[in-house]
């Protein structure tokens, strides 16, 4: 089964939550919808589920127009960002509830519930009420309820965002395997680029209700088509330096000269925006082929095992992501190094001209 959104818009109180989206999602694929908060991720899922009706446009499933079809008549399952369970039912009955509605026999229901509960490691909690569970267990219950019925469309709206770090990592790994085994369209929304990369599959980059780019997740990560996509698909945000290319040398920011070699070779003379991810900025020159950027430290954020150093280079704000702990004094001078082969090049309208490949 595939699902096609054809020119779908959703307008609520004059505000465009979804702005003319046309999208085709193939059967048996894992799809990640990546976008910042308020990008329209939840709205998009609600339209796909049939909980909301699009203001304009059509939604077609397997060649059949399902635009106005009630959610009850669709083969869909959904997991919300908040932990949504039926508070008055035990975990067992929560998971069994969609099966009971479909009229399966009690022994079939029991078998399926126990199987999916074991898969999500909540088989020892089946007699409890949701209120007696931890947040992670509650969300596992919600996921189990979504998985237990073999729906053709499985929607997960930032399911792990309200969980603590450790639980999130654990579930991320487990969910990947679960998605692989299923014969269904999985649509998973997230704000985190790392989560999107981990899940792989296809990606839909969403921003202000529009689709910016679609494609295989790793491909889009390596070839973000516009500066906006690169911003959404980078955490901490990607760094941009304005630059001018003239005579096979690019002059970036305040007097940083880099040779136009390798993937940059085909870029003609002109004004460009050079992008580099925070993890490709270094504090040491290493092999010595890197360009130096003189900066002043604005803030050093030590985040356990890594440090985010926010620096300013003239008017430009940059973020350096470095492993290990690197305390720096605010206001001190800092030399930051960048390898030219790590640069994305965008033209002045923000479209990708060159993206880095295989950098040593």
């Amino acid at each position: 089964m595939d699902i096609v959104l054809d020119g779908v818009s959703k307008i609520v109180n004059g505000e465009k939550h979804i702005n003319n989206i046309t999208l085709k999602i193939e059967s048996d694929t894992t799809n990640v919808v990546l976008g910042h908060t308020l990008a329209g991720k939840t709205s998009l899922l609600r339209l796909m589920a049939g909980l909301d009706r699009p203001t304009t446009g059509q939604i077609v499933m397997e060649g059949k127009d399902v635009t106005g079809l009630s959610v009850r008549k669709r083969s869909v399952a959904m997991v919300y960002q908040q932990f949504v369970n039926y508070p008055s039912m035990s975990v067992y009955n929560n998971i069994a509830s969609p099966l009971k509605m479909s009229g399966l026999s009690a022994s079939d229901i029991d078998q399926k519930v126990r199987k999916v509960a074991a898969m999500l490691h909540i088989d020892n909690l089946l007699d409890r009420l949701p209120a007696e569970l931890s947040g992670g267990q509650q969300q596992r219950t919600a996921i189990a309820r979504a998985l237990v019925k073999d729906s053709e469309l499985l929607l997960l709206d930032e399911p792990l965002v309200n969980l603590d770090y450790k639980l999130r990592e654990e579930l991320q790994v487990e969910l990947q395997d679960i998605f692989k085994e299923r014969n269904a369209i999985v649509v998973y929304t997230t704000t985190e680029p790392s989560e999107a990369l981990m899940l792989g599959g296809n990606i839909v980059v969403l921003d202000e209700g529009r689709v910016l780019q679609t494609g295989a997740t790793p491909y889009v990560y390596h070839h973000p088509a516009t500066t906006r996509v690169a911003q959404v698909f980078s955490d901490p945000p990607i760094n941009y330096l304005p630059g001018v290319v003239h005579g096979r040398v690019a002059r970036l920011g305040q007097g940083i000269d880099i040779p136009m070699e390798g993937h940059l070779e085909s870029v003609p003379d002109g004004k460009y925006i050079f992008g580099v991810r925070p993890n490709h900025l270094f504090l040491t020159n290493g092999s010595g082929n890197k360009a130096e950027i003189r900066t002043k430290v604005a803030l050093a954020e030590i985040n356990g095992s890594e440090t985010f150093i926010h620096v300013s280079h003239g008017d430009t704000h940059l973020v350096v992501q470095e492993d290990g702990i690197h305390p720096r004094h605010i206001g001190s001078d800092l030399a930051v190094y960048v390898n030219p082969c790590n640069f994305f090049v965008y033209n002045e309208t923000g479209h990708l001209l060159a993206s880095p490949f295989q950098c040593e």
Binding site: A49, L51, S70, V71, R72, V76, A77, M78, Y80, Q82, V84, N85, Y86, P87, S88, M89, S97, P98, M101, S102, R145, K149
Partner: protein, 268 residues
């Protein structure tokens, strides 16, 4: 420790003041009229159950209680059955004029009951509803349904909409979801609403007395019979009053846990 004791004494005095009239009524109900009118005593010297016995044996007395209980129960049931779907609609759907209609419902409670008395009497006597239990029950709905909608809407809006949606995704129909999932979630609200409907209907006198003659005469109206040419039958009236307290006390006892939660959560 000292502060705790002070508090305890203060509360004890408050409790005593509150209970004094009720105790006095109990005191009177256990004495004969001659005894009541002769001396002031703090407790009945020769307690007698004569007054209670009369109420339990005289059908004109005990039928008053039965009538009251019948129409109060009918009213509570009708109010809940009407208000539950209405409150759900107000809580979950947006439609033209929803806020206005919601407010209009409440304005029904703002007018004094006497205003509605004449139209009710006229209407009921025309269609032959006068002196039936359902007549009083329906009349009390005028006040109880808006209150019930108002209270229940508050409780329902406290339940996240995602639960409804999850149920529809799971394949529940609206009525089935409503009965098997939604109502258990707002149990406390239903309890509190039932309590308020019961209480209003139980203490209401004007409609209940005017719309009934003999067959559905409520206890509050029967009590006025104690006034006769020979004066007031104090003991009998006190006993009837004591018994009138019992159903209310029982209902409060049953919903006492929900009530505290209801006051905290809803818009009681």
């Amino acid at each position: 420790m000292k502060k705790g004791r002070k508090k305890l004494i203060g509360l004890a005095i408050y409790f005593f003041l509150l209970l004094l009239p009720i105790y006095w009524m109990l005191n009177m109900s256990l004495r004969t009229n001659a005894d009541i009118l002769s001396v002031l005593t703090l407790y009945p010297a020769n307690p007698t159950f004569e007054n209670y016995l009369k109420i339990f044996t005289d059908s004109s007395w005990y039928s008053g209680y039965i009538n009251s209980i019948i129409y109060v129960t009918i009213n509570t049931l009708i109010s809940l059955m009407v208000a539950l779907p209405a409150a759900y609609a107000f809580s979950r759907y947006h439609f033209v004029g929803d806020k206005q209609v919601f407010f209009w419902l409440l304005t029904n409670r703002m007018a004094p009951a006497a205003v509605f008395l004449l139209p009710f009497f006229q209407l009921y006597s025309t269609i032959g509803l006068l002196d039936t239990h359902i007549a009083v029950a329906l009349a009390h709905c005028l006040f109880n349904v808006p209150l019930a909608v108002w209270i229940l809407e508050g409780f329902m809006s406290g339940i996240p909409r995602e639960i409804d949606e999850t149920a529809f995704i799971d394949g529940y129909s609206l009525p089935r979801f409503f009965i098997t999932i939604f109502i258990p979630l707002i149990r406390a609200g239903v309890g509190v609403t039932a309590f308020f409907c019961f209480m209003f209907s139980w203490v209401e006198l004007l409609f209940a007395r005017t719309l009934t003659v003999t067959n559905a005469k409520p206890i509050a109206a029967v009590m006025t019979r104690t006034i006769s040419a020979t004066g007031l039958d104090w003991g009998l009236m006190a006993a009837a009053g004591m018994l009138t307290l019992v159903p209310g006390a029982l209902v409060i006892w049953f919903v006492r846990n929900h009530l505290a939660k209801g006051f905290a959560l809803g818009r009681v």
